[in-house]
């Protein structure tokens, strides 16, 4: 019982036949080849499969693809600029040595996109809470927090908004 499914994935309209029981993670990985979407638990515990659906971070392993029908989906494959430049968040992860094995990295980067996109600043503790749905065993989160904090500050500086709250 294949159904027609459509969405805008990384800026491109996509139309596919899918099984309505399929998770969004499986559709993105298996049908679209977007293998940055990692699976570490398949029950929404680890956050590795995080993608943005209409700008909101979701665990795509426990999110039916049908729920994302007609929506905007973003994975890290869609983050680079057209000329290939890394997005500021990706750049911050690279330069802050926030990447180790890299398996949790795409998911956390997407949460960071959501955080940065909120247009406000956060305390370190607020950032800890915001990324606490992502498990990482390599980094102790230290450099990940440094990268997210840097991306938040840079975005805020760029937008020229209110003073940072410390």
């Amino acid at each position: 019982m294949i159904q027609v499914w459509n969405a805008v994935v990384n800026g491109q309209p996509v139309e596919l036949g899918i099984d309505p029981r399929e998770s969004l993670a499986d559709v993105l990985r298996e049908r679209l080849g977007l293998t940055s979407v990692k699976k570490g638990c398949e029950v929404g515990e680890c956050g590795a499969c995080t993608v943005l659906v209409d700008g909101t971070a979701v665990d795509s392993c426990i999110y039916l693809a049908l729920w994302a029908r007609g929506k905007q989906i973003l994975t890290v494959e869609g983050l680079q600029e057209p000329d290939g430049a890394l997005s500021p968040i990706q750049k911050a992860f690279v330069e802050e040595a926030a990447v180790q094995c890299g398996f949790c990295t795409p998911g956390i980067i997407l949460s960071a996109v959501e955080i940065v996109g909120s247009g406000r600043t956060y305390t370190r503790d607020e950032l800890r809470k915001l990324i606490s749905g992502h498990l990482c065993r390599c980094t102790g989160y230290q450099n990940i927090l440094n990268a997210v904090e840097r991306a938040v500050h840079e975005a805020h500086k760029f937008v020229g908004g209110e003073e940072t709250q410390e």
Binding site: S36, R128, Y141
Partner: protein
């Protein structure tokens, strides 16, 4: 200098763009899915199995049971193979087992067109068991009359070893016991226990296998591709060269993927469906139950200390719970007693006794630190407790007894070629403001109290002389004058590829940017190396890279010498060959084109070298932690924490720091929250998922500080020594000692979880 540069990881770009490919991302052909039937008893036998309904389910290709699997017992640990039979690993595992030894043992497998069908088929298999009582603790397993879990070990003791260092001839004592009993010394005894925890790499074990040209290829998430080839060959009873193993990027390992757990079954299932591609991917729950973990170990320790605070003798008796399968065998318990001995020097005697005991728990194996985090907890609790009993300053007491430079282990000969141990302690003491805090947190009252504690460790580098240390490297010239670096050593997230590239660049005399490392190992083409474990690669593989790089450089310069007869003192600088007077002779790019395409002498330059390393050395370090404890709720909050490490010369300081953060984090979980819990009746793991197993999140961490004292180790290829595992070692004891400082209560069992702390505070009269 390429060594010492904090360059960005060579794989960072690919990892942040989602372009780095892991095992499950690489499937390039139609693939069948395998699923495993796990036993619902922890101890007993499979008497019969009815697979007819499963076999009849549409979409099922084959159902294979423990009655079909080859009757071959094979070893699983990722040790270098020993050609001496006495040192070979324990072969106690079959692909599928009729004799069930853990809850969830592998007893059958289904291969189907998709994962859902495979799982449905598992539910249709009927199993008849004969059960034995479940034994989860070594004491019960060793008790007279307990039936053996493995018939080869009637008393369930896999191995029991006793060792004692030779006493100085003029000591006047005959054995350690006499020193420990000597009334002239302060006598100490203590009991400490550690719990079973898991690695929790975020990528679960996954592999896929297919046949091509009559051979089996296994693509797998492993730390040890060459060993996977060997063990798969052994398990299937086929020549090892019939197996090809490919290792792409892996989503963490921490020792769990230093064991060959499911690749052999995957390869065998592939052969049973005509060589079609088969994927075997474990769920998180299977990973918890069926892969490895850190051994729970109980320690009984004694010490004799003289009035000056010098350790005269110590004794460490440990019992290690091995679970149902030998895995790394006795090696981890043996390493634990050795590590317990080494950090400090005993003036007269040291006695060790270690038991490794089979039980029906999920089997522990290698995990970051290989027995030393357990031993360090016992050792550093003991050192703290002795100091407090004797009224000594805990830091001064430790420093006085530290392993000295030039120390040679009396039993295995490992030598201390360099030490920054005391300097690390001093740096940590300054960073945390030890003296002021020790003073400030005396005599506190009320429910919230603070304390500061510390712990010291030492850790050897690689496995010599216990096992073979060998590594090979190949360097191949490209037409543009850059090089390709091929290794059997593996990148597992630690940054290996980056520091290997820096080492090659340093040895050749070119920028790291001109070294292109082949990250993926394919056992058909990758030089031989036993892989990522024992914090060995920067040391052992580093020697191979240095050797190959030096050879490559000489070959390049020899070739340049042919082009410029009479030129002297040739050197490589700024991507050019120069003569002794500093004149540019030729760029490396032009030299490479000549070497490839010369009509008179074509020789695309390559160099290959093997380092068989017959040395070892000690890394050192310490952790300092400041904590606050909420006594009524038994909750510890770590306020500040620093690790200070002497890992010799740092190849890449930024990555070294990141590595330390990760180890501290693992130590923090070990200290406070992580524990695998088993149902005593059934032996079933109760919290085998990432919700109920309390892995620390970002909210559970303080800011992590990582500092270094750089020494230059004469035995390391670039002055470097172990770094990968050490950061996780000292954290638990440092937190426990801070808790003792804060409350006066000595908690001697990990983890320091709220339930346990409240019980201990009751006993200690705080509640």
């Amino acid at each position: 200098m390429e060594v010492g540069r904090s360059i960005v990881r060579v794989d960072a770009f690919d990892k942040v763009t989602g372009r780095a490919k892991y095992t499950g991302d690489l499937i390039d052909r139609p693939v069948l899915e395998a699923a495993i039937l796990h036993s619902t008893i922890a101890n007993g036998w499979v008497k019969a199995m009815d697979i007819s309904a499963a076999q009849a389910l549409p979409g099922v290709v084959r159902v294979l049971t423990c009655f079909d699997a080859p009757d071959i017992q094979y070893p699983t640990p990722g040790h270098p193979w020993s050609v001496e039979k006495a040192h070979q690993d324990v072969a106690d595992r079959k692909l599928l087992n009729r004799r069930v030894r853990i809850y969830g043992d592998d007893i059958a497998a289904v291969v189907a067109r998709d994962a859902l069908t495979a799982k449905k088929a598992l539910a249709l298999i009927r199993v008849e068991y004969e059960t034995c009582p479940v034994v989860l603790e070594p004491r019960e397993a060793m008790a007279t009359g307990t039936p053996p879990i493995h018939e080869e070990y009637p008393d369930n003791v896999l191995r029991h070893t006793v060792s004692e260092i030779p006493l100085p001839p003029d000591s006047g004592f005959q054995c350690a016991q006499e020193v420990l009993d000597c009334p002239g010394y302060h006598a100490f005894s203590g009991h400490y226990e550690t719990q079973q925890v898991q690695h929790c790499h975020i990528e679960n074990p996954v592999s896929w296998a297919y046949m091509e040209g009559g051979r089996i290829t296994v693509v797998t998430s492993t730390q040890i591709p060459h060993i996977v080839r060997r063990v798969t060959g052994q398990a299937l009873g086929i020549p090892w060269g019939q197996i090809r193993v490919i290792k792409p990027y892996i989503g963490g390992g921490f020792g769990n993927k230093q064991e060959v757990l499911y690749e052999p079954l995957n390869a065998w299932l592939c052969t049973q469906v005509g060589g079609r591609a088969v994927r075997l991917e474990l769920s998180r729950e299977e990973t918890f139950q069926n892969t490895r973990s850190r051994h729970p170990i109980s320690f009984d320790v004694r010490a004799a200390v003289d009035q000056d605070g010098r350790l005269m003798a110590r004794e460490c008796v440990l019992v290690s719970n091995q679970g149902g399968y030998a895995s790394h065998g006795h090696a981890i318990a043996a390493n634990a007693v050795t590590g317990f001995r080494q950090t400090y020097l005993d003036q007269i005697a040291h006695r060790s006794e270690a038991y490794t005991v089979y039980t029906n728990r999920s089997s522990p194996g290698a995990m970051r630190g290989y027995g030393i985090p357990q031993a360090n907890f016992a050792l550093e609790c003991m050192m703290e407790d002795i100091a407090l009993e004797m009224g000594l300053d805990p830091i001064a007491f430790r420093v006085k007894n530290l392993m000295p430079l030039g120390y040679v282990d009396p039993l295995n000969g490992i030598t201390c070629h360099s030490t920054g141990a005391a300097a690390c302690v001093e740096k940590g003491r300054q960073w945390i403001g030890w003296d002021a805090l020790r003073e400030k947190y005396q005599n506190q009252t009320g429910p919230l109290r603070r304390g500061v504690g510390m712990a010291v460790f030492s850790y050897k580098t690689g496995v010599h002389p216990i096992s073979l240390e060998t590594a090979s490297a190949r360097i191949v010239l490209s037409q543009d004058g850059a090089v390709q670096l091929q290794l059997g050593a593996t990148e597992i997230g630690q940054g290996g590829d980056t520091v290997f590239s820096q080492m090659a660049a340093q040895a050749i005399g070119i920028p790291t940017e001109d070294v292109r490392i082949v990250s993926t190992q394919d056992t058909d083409t990758a030089p031989f190396d036993t892989g990522a474990y024992a914090s060995r690669q920067t040391y052992v593989t580093g020697h191979a890279i240095k050797k190959a790089g030096t050879l490559f450089r000489r070959k390049l310069l020899d070739y340049a010498g042919e082009l410029f007869p009479g030129a002297e003192g040739l050197d490589i600088r700024d991507r050019t060959v120069m003569d002794g007077a500093g004149n540019t002779l030729i760029t490396l790019a032009d030299l490479a084109m000549e070497a490839f395409y010369s009509l008179s002498h074509s020789e695309p330059v390559t160099a290959e070298a093997t380092a068989h390393v017959k040395d070892n050395t000690f890394s050192f370090g310490c952790c300092f932690a400041e904590i606050e404890v909420d006594i009524p709720v038994g909750k510890i909050r770590v306020l500040r924490m620093v690790n200070v490490h002497d890992s010799g010369t740092l190849i890449n300081p930024a990555l070294a720091e990141a590595q330390v953060h990760g180890g501290m984090s693992m130590g923090l979980g070990y200290a406070l929250s992580e524990e695998m819990k088993f149902d005593p009746k059934t032996g079933r793991l109760l919290n085998g998922n990432l919700l109920d197993y309390k892995l620390p999140t970002a909210m559970d961490h303080p800011e992590l500080a990582a500092l270094f004292v750089e020494t230059c180790d004469s035995s390391g290829p670039f002055g470097n020594k172990a770094l990968g595992e050490p950061p996780s070692i000292p954290v638990a004891a440092a937190v426990r000692n801070a808790l003792r400082h804060a409350t006066g209560v000595a908690v001697n069992t990990l983890p320091l979880s709220p339930q346990r702390l409240v019980e201990e505070f009751w006993k200690g009269g705080l509640l």
